[in-house]
Subunit: 556 residues, 2 copies
């Protein structure tokens, strides 16, 4: 399906709209296309067995000859996690700030595609010209350093995409958002703004990351024993504050958890993290210090089953144990869906006798996304003609629209878009165009997109009531049963306690087969369906359960 | 296993400690036993396919000759939901207030055991003497009317169990908590207090249910179109406020959702709900009124897939549709684990064009449980010698302990108990005794406790990567393959797209069998294990997935 892109600018979100995650936006003008971000999303509950979800990039493949470059706003998984899968299909240069590319490098190396990829670092001074597009970036604050928004100059005018942002007035790295550049863009005149809707429901102004530092400092100073702090490995600002707090309270820092070690190393090597040479120690050396001299930095703030902290809480970690008297700081807020596993971890830590400091009882986390006042501030900096709330679920986009109207954007000029929608600009006028293929590609193990609805439906069925396999051999000639029926069940009932039930099931299969075989021995599907129906009905009557029934009828 | 209960009081929580749900507490003295509450709990994520969870009542069965009566604090599922299963095993009189028994009746009727059960209504004046126990109750405020706490007089002294409570200073039904009785108990001297820990982490004082009424009133008055309000069906106070708001704004009320209709009818018949004869209409008659004249009262505030509101939001409800311009009030807060399904429902309603009013943007819900100031107030009313924080997860019990210490309870006299722990009182002195059998009985369909860890483990496996069934027939004599191998897969890969993989799997099974059969044709387990291992290894290498492999080897 080829579309007409000549003499107009087309903006197509391929992910991140009506959802949190897998952010990706395509900009097309004539024969040129650039893309901002290539994120992943973690699977929904119903996506049983799925590891991660990435955007459907069919549109990018169909237009690969136009595809000039991929720009990254920052190095969070929901913005770069899909990159390896894009780059395995499409060879395209990737642009990002130093830290962003540093973290991307590690990821591409794991996937063995680092060498074949062209990574091009950008700064606030860069102006990248790719065909009809000229792209420059401006610094914003976020829960990871070196985050930027993009100003994309096109024949139709300038489009600004903020990326994830907040306005931190006391940033940990001292780098404020580039107010001058944003306001200058607004003065020049901006055609359209695409802005982060994550916290559009939150009134007020998001607290500074530094306020968390204060809490951390206090705990580190006053805790009699060891302090174990767990947070998102990518929140370099927070890692920095932990390091500083440790150095001020003369504690050594042991880092536990693969992603935490990786990110810390990369950030340090690139100069985004200041650490005294004597601060870090190996987990194995913890025992060589007094409890009062130790701080641990670890992953697992979301209660992820395999993460370091969760394993420590279960006393299942190879190297580190939690002792009574330890203070554990869960420096994060629950990502929706993780509430229960986090509570479980907190309870396990309390049971061990640790003192746990967590969200609902004290200020150990602030959001990386701007609240309503900051979103309105962005709108007033950029003063766009058109506005598209992105990066959020529908109710957040909806709320963001209201905020834009409050700042004076014409309601007619606000578009709440869905993944795959085409927003076209021609002669300075915007209109919704058609739709391109967009959606979720599920990745399970090495399989990319081979898990579809049928597979998920079966996994759902299997997970609810299990499966019964019925094996029986019929005589080719007479249709009488030569062997079986044998019934094997998994995930249905504990067999030892249900022999009667299964014996009865056996009789029902036999009688059903006998009856049907005498009617028509050659109608195999009829036999199978008959057995499946009779058995399902019986089992439902007896147990009110609907296990999957798999009849295997052989002839001899 | 028989224990010695003579000349001492033993308190044994059989559910509700270290968890939210399935509350049940046994009190034993000599040859007498009474039980407070018999609740259910909703299954944890990992309990795949399980419908509900109830306490293990082995201890009650073992001591059924002692079992004199079961007392109910209020009619929430986590306090009465296990009752039918207890009463199917044990015949025992059930004591509760009028509304509590009214709602219990309906439940027992569904289970067909109403006739065989003795339900005995109690009031604040009742004094029930059962052997060594004399039980009286006192009114408390909660998110359901007619909730009580119990004062249990024993030879060792008085034990107070609060049940779920808050102190509402402006209760909707005008009935305040029985402060006089509680303080009188405190004056007389109380041996031990068992108190609700649900909100022990929340500072301050829980808001009055009436504050929700004010919000509802305002919405009902100002909404141009229909108002659809969804809340917990058992929150009769809130239903009352909806009815009043409707009558004040001259709207008719249509009630949708089975449990909502049942509870409203029962509460109304028993005089716990005031409704003008003209207020209620049938859902079928909605169309006969203007949008401005309509209010809908419905279930589904937790985004439950089959609930009325969820189906309306999906436009899948038989009778009621949501239209643009409708105002939907989600008058509840998410129960942990339901966050995602609730957000999804809200988004779907927004997409239809409804105006949705929900927790995070406005005060449409208050908790039914007291916060820290109320918990301390209860402690200061009762002034117990010993204190046991119940009804909560470990961190809540822990926090509640701190609150008790703050009010002057001796830390030595506070016991954080687990389900099955025995707390013994003799000569006015308490000590932890042994443990009795306690735990979770999972109910799946009609099966009570027949789903065990093996079944759950299999369901988990099946849900992650599905199953492959391998069927092959070998010659009894030669061990050569007569038919097959046939491989049937479910929930693994979408077969059409994976023929190559399955063909290769087929070859591997054949070669493995040939090899093993020549070695030892009679070692069936060896053959099966060999096939399973070889196939699992191959599939993991190829797909990084571990489907369940079920080899079925037959001989002919």
């Amino acid at each position: 399906m080829s579309k007409n892109f000549s003499n107009k600018l087309t903006i197509i979100p391929l992910g991140g709209l009506g959802e949190i995650g897998k952010n990706m936006t395509a900009y097309v003008y004539g024969n040129d296309m650039i893309v901002v971000d290539a994120g992943l999303k973690f699977p929904e509950e119903e996506m049983l067995g799925v590891d991660i979800v990435i955007p459907d990039i069919t549109f990018l493949v169909e237009n690969k000859q136009k595809f000039k470059g991929l720009f990254l706003t920052h190095a969070h998984e929901d913005h770069i996690g899909g990159l390896p899968y894009v780059l395995k299909t499409l060879q395209v240069p990737v642009y990002g700030t130093r830290l962003t590319l540093g973290l991307v490098e590690a990821k591409l190396r794991e996937h063995g595609i680092l060498d074949q990829t062209k990574l091009i670092p950008i700064t606030n001074e860069s102006e990248i010209q790719l065909g009809e597009f000229t792209v420059s970036c401006f610094h914003v604050n976020h829960s990871i350093p070196d985050a930027v928004g993009f100003a994309i100059d096109t024949p139709e005018g300038i489009v600004v995409q903020t990326g994830d942002f907040k306005f931190d007035q006391t940033p940990v790295d001292g780098r404020h958002a580039d107010y001058a550049k944003m306001t200058a863009l607004g003065k020049r005149g901006v055609l359209a703004l695409l802005s982060d809707s994550t916290n559009a429901e939150r009134p007020g102004f998001t607290m500074s990351e530094r306020t968390v530092g204060a809490t951390i400092d206090e705990v580190f100073r006053n805790a009699e024993g060891r302090v174990i702090l767990s947070t998102f490995a990518s929140n370099i600002h927070r890692l920095q504050q932990v390091i500083f707090a440790a150095e001020r309270s003369s504690r050594k820092v042991a880092v536990v958890g693969r992603s935490m070690v990786n990110n810390l190393t990369i950030a340090r090597d690139l100069g985004y993290l200041q650490v005294l040479p004597t601060t870090l120690i190996e987990p194995d050396d913890i025992s060589r210090y007094q409890a009062r001299e130790i701080a641990l930095l670890t992953t697992g703030s979301q209660g992820e089953p395999m993460s370091a902290l969760t394993r420590m809480a279960r006393s299942a970690h190879r190297k580190v144990e939690i002792y009574p008297g330890d203070t554990v700081i869960m420096a994060s807020s629950p990502i929706p869906g993780n509430e229960k596993s986090i509570s479980r971890t907190i309870d396990q830590l309390f049971r061990i006798g640790a003192n746990v400091i967590y969200q609902s009882v004290s200020g150990v986390h602030v959001s990386g996304h701007g609240s309503q006042e900051e979103l309105k501030l962005m709108l007033n900096f950029i003063r766009p003609k058109y506005f598209v709330p992105v990066h959020g679920e529908f109710r957040m986009q909806n709320r963001h629209k209201e905020l834009a109207i409050a700042t004076g954007v014409d309601p007619q000029n606000i578009f709440i878009m869905d993944n795959g929608d085409m927003l076209e600009f021609q002669g300075g006028v915007a209109r919704m165009g058609g739709k391109v293929q967009a959606g979720a590609i599920m990745i399970d193990g090495l399989g990319v997109g081979d898990v579809g609805n049928i597979v998920l439906r079966d996994r759902k069925l299997l997970s609810q009531d299990g499966i019964l396999v019925v094996v029986v051999t019929l005589s080719k000639q007479t249709g009488t049963i030569l062997s079986g029926p044998d019934i094997i069940s998994r995930g249905f009932v504990y067999v030892r306690e249900s022999e009667q039930l299964l014996d009865e099931a056996n009789r029902i299969v036999s009688s059903t087969l006998q009856r049907l075989a005498t009617e028509n021995i050659n109608d195999w599907n009829g036999l199978k369906t008959g057995v499946r129906d009779a058995l399902s009905r019986f089992l439902y009557e007896q147990t009110r359960r609907r296990p999957m029934v798999l009849p295997i009828i052989m002839e001899a």
